[in-house]
């Protein structure tokens, strides 16, 4: 968590400088880092993954984050090698993974770890494959930025979730917060899936 804070601090300090940078690609990187905030689907998946990692407990959360990173990189490699590009099919996989993970969070006060890690791996793989930007100038910066932003969002949200979990001993009702949010995410993903299916 401390390393993540240092990293975020560095990015926050660098941000104003790069906002008007003349270095090609810096704008792309800056914008891409904020991708989870500007792209609702990526934000939704990052939020769910962070919440799930936190609910699994601190040690499994670290394993889950490593798994997410590894499966995300595998997804990137798979997208490059197979030529699969972001689209409705990957969106549906991401939404189903988010729905499963959110349902897992809502259903259990202490969610079983292994299925949770499995969901994290599926989400990471689909997110990695879905991160490939349009070809053109700043391709690398956009790719690295959006993927880093996605992972940072997950790290911070899982950190917030772990912090919340630590306070559950004193305030029992706190365990309801992630479970209610989990139920809301299930509802959101269900509606978005219906939108995607009806638009086809």
């Amino acid at each position: 968590m401390r390393q993540a804070l240092v990293l975020a601090g560095t990015i926050a300090m660098a941000a104003p400088a790069s906002a008007h940078s003349s270095v090609p690609g810096a704008e792309g990187l800056f914008l891409a880092l904020a991708h989870p905030l500007t792209e609702p689907l990526q934000g939704l998946v990052a939020g769910t993954a962070g919440l799930l990692a936190a609910r699994l407990g601190q040690l499994p959360a670290v394993t889950g984050l490593k798994l997410l990173l590894a499966s995300g990189l595998a997804g990137l490699v798979a997208a490059f090698t197979t030529g699969i590009r972001p689209g409705a099919g990957l969106d549906i996989v991401l939404l189903l993974a988010a729905m499963g993970a959110a349902g897992w969070i809502a259903a259990f006060r202490r969610p079983p770890v292994r299925p949770g890690l499995g969901l994290a791996a599926i989400a990471g793989l689909a997110a990695g494959m879905n991160t490939i930007p349009e070809p053109g100038e700043g391709f690398a910066a956009t790719l690295i930025g959006s993927y880093a932003g996605f992972l940072l969002a997950i790290v911070y949200l899982s950190g917030a979730g772990v912090w919340l979990a630590r306070h559950e001993a004193r305030h029992d009702w706190l365990h309801l917060v992630p479970r209610v949010i989990g139920a809301w995410i299930v509802a959101i993903t269900m509606l978005v899936l219906a939108f995607l299916v009806s638009a086809r």
Partner: protein
């Protein structure tokens, strides 16, 4: 034992503040979005957020779910507001996909009437029955919203706004329902249940 009681009391107090803060947040948040367009993330979010607030029949029923949950206490206080949005989204999905569900409008009006009557009668329904009733009515509400969803809006943003708005309406009901332990709180809640039931009758017969 006394320490445990104090801890529960402190926890309850804290939850009350959390609910009130969430409801206050809802009030403070809305004006910032008041002038957005229906395009992009912000427009989609605003469109979704304001949709459940458009009809009094929806608002009354969703607040009633929160009040009934608080009235039934643990675990209904959180189970009902979890069941409602999930089943409502299922109904919404049916609406988006064009799957017909009969008696939508009477079902919506009946939801205020039935849940209002349950609060008025102080019916301590078993959790399963309460969940079933709330879930059944949630399908009607969800379908009505789903059938009206604007396809131009950003679907993810729209859905996020829609579900958060519904959840905050439940929280408003829960916040009000927490007066149940205050002197005269039960009477106030049962009175509110009576008002909601009366509104339901008015909705059912097209008087409002």
């Amino acid at each position: 034992m006394q320490g445990e009681g104090e801890a529960v009391s402190r926890s309850f107090q804290a939850s009350r503040w959390a609910v009130l803060l969430a409801v206050a947040g809802l009030g403070g948040w809305l004006p910032a979005f008041a002038h957005s367009t229906a395009e992009g993330f912000q427009g989609g979010f605003v469109s979704g957020f304001t949709h459940p607030l458009d009809g009094w029949d929806h608002v009354a029923a969703m607040v009633a779910v929160g009040i009934w949950g608080a009235f039934l206490r643990q675990p209904a206080i959180w189970v009902l507001p979890i069941v409602f949005p999930v089943v409502m989204a299922l109904g919404g999905a049916l609406g988006v996909l064009g799957v017909p569900v009969p008696l939508i409008e009477p079902g919506i009006a009946a939801s205020s009437m039935v849940i209002g009557l349950a609060i008025l009668a102080a019916w301590r329904a078993p959790l399963g029955s309460a969940g079933l009733i709330v879930g059944l009515f949630a399908v009607f509400h969800g379908h009505a919203h789903g059938a009206e969803l604007p396809h131009a809006a950003n679907p993810v943003a729209y859905s996020i706004g829609f579900v958060i708005s519904t959840g905050l309406l439940h929280l408003a009901g829960i916040a009000f329902g927490l007066v149940v332990d205050r002197p005269g709180g039960r009477i106030a809640l049962r009175g509110a249940g009576g008002v909601i039931a009366a509104l339901g009758v008015a909705f059912l017969f097209g008087l409002l």
